[in-house]
């Protein structure tokens, strides 16, 4: 496998991970938003015990991104702990870049 191919695959991995983190969390945030704001009216909510001055649409919008941030954090955590032992232990340097004396150094 050539380096460029590896690089591209790694780039694809980053893209995949971004999709895995952002997409399911987006869907779940949408559901959470609908359920939460069906049950609660933003005008009845208080922030730190004080009434807020946001419009309903503003509250809904910020609420959506609030939910999305939380659900994305959960997805991100899932991706993070999904790493295999090899992935964690693997040397980030290519064999050529390894320091002198490293048994896995090449060239």
């Amino acid at each position: 496998m050539s380096l460029s191919r590896v690089g591209r695959a790694a780039g694809g991995q980053t893209m995949n991970k971004a999709i895995w983190i952002l997409w399911p969390s987006f869907v779940v945030a949408g559901i959470a938003e609908a359920v939460f704001f069906t049950l609660f009216d933003p005008q009845d909510l208080q922030l730190f015990g004080l009434p807020h001055e946001l419009s309903r649409v503003g509250f809904y919008s910020l609420g959506f991104f609030f939910f999305w941030a939380i659900t994305a954090a959960s997805s991100g955590f899932t991706i993070f702990i999904q790493k295999t032992a090899e992935e964690i232990n693997r040397c980030p340097l290519t064999p050529r870049e390894r320091p002198d004396g490293c048994p896995k150094r090449e060239g």
Binding site: R8, A9, G12, N16, D41, R56, V57, Y60, E87, P95
Partner: protein, 474 residues
Amino acid sequence: MREPLRRPAPKVKVIPIVEESLYEVQKKIYPRAVTGVFATWRWILVWATQLVFYGLCWLEWNGRQAVLFDLVHRKFYIFGLVFWPQDVFYLAVLLIISALALFLFTAIAGRLWCGYACPQTVYTEIFMWVERVIEGDRMARMKLDAQPMSARKLALKSAKHGAWALIALWTGFTFVGYFTPIKTLVQETIAWNLGPWETFWILFYGFATWGNAGFMREQVCKYMCPYARFQGVMFDPDTLIVTYDAERGEPRGSRSKKTDHRAAGLGDCVDCGICVQVCPTGIDIRNGLQYECIGCSACIDACDQVMDKMGYPRGLIRYSTENALAKHWGRKDILRHVLRPRTLVYGAVLSAIVIAFAWALATKVPLKVDVIRDRATLAREVEDGRIENVFRLQIMNTAEEPRRFAIGVVGLEGIEIASDKTVDIPAATTQSVSVRVRAEPGAGSRGSNRILFEVRAVGHEDVFVREKASFLLP
């Protein structure tokens, strides 16, 4: 066969651990344009769904937008119906109906939704049409993309993205127009004082449309859509799916039109690869059913044209079922198997829920009442020796006109309301009414007695709600 005595020792080689991507490195797909029966159906559905989506928000009803999800006032209007947050039950039932309909259609004929009606398909189709008009068909587009940047390329690409951006913005505008009255949006846009959130959501939805239909395309179906992943469990051997008739097609191979291909030992597949070129997800249907197949039938249309040119019968790729292929069934047998226990059960459950839903909507009373006991005073004796309880009635007039409501109470002998017996409530408004109820001390047992509040709209005898409460006697 004799094994060699000694195998050469395998060379020790450090194999770098490379994460194999679950998804292959994406190759850009250049679908070839296709015409035919199924392509025509898809265009009919593109028009139908988009006429509804772009058009519905402009219709008026009762002096307001006919379909409006008014988040600001927390009310959903759908023609004559008004839904309040308390009506979320109807939304839940609607979702169940949609899910069951999806099961039913998938069991009968696979991914009909994906191939014809899914917004992802519809907008991709529209965006690809724009691309084809501006950049040309498949070969022209591939050539253009391979070229270095030139004035012509820049002009074509700018024109395409300009057209895409306009469609995307209009789509975003329409989408937001279902949440904020679209005529208000138009006025605000003309006056250049669109609210910050409206602006944001128009751009957000527009950007999503542009990205999904212009770039992501089949990636959305392959990697993001959950339906693609669980469709398999809804298929059975009698499900109609896009199928390549391998028995008839193989061995595939190119040949001259004049050749007697049967004599030459060839099947009907001329291996022209057009079925692959037209596929929006870039698969080869000849490899059998794959989860990427969105059931768009572009390959059927394309193959039929090739068969016509070759003078072979149509349908080398066609809608068929696993059983039909194995048992050589004709159209009649296939259609007979559409009715099978699975589809009948889905159909029966779906019909029952749809009927119940329609009945619930038709008999929906535009009035809701909640009774809350006044907690400060449980029961007190008033001047004439009777016992008084105080209640708070939360009366929601969900009709779109102001109404007068008569409040009554039954359940104990001689029980009556000592406060105002009528209340006027403006259109689509909730009002809290304090109600004093009196009864003789001996009218019931000591403690809690079941009573019923009756709220009736004056002049609309059918708008009537009965709500339980308890009357305390010392």
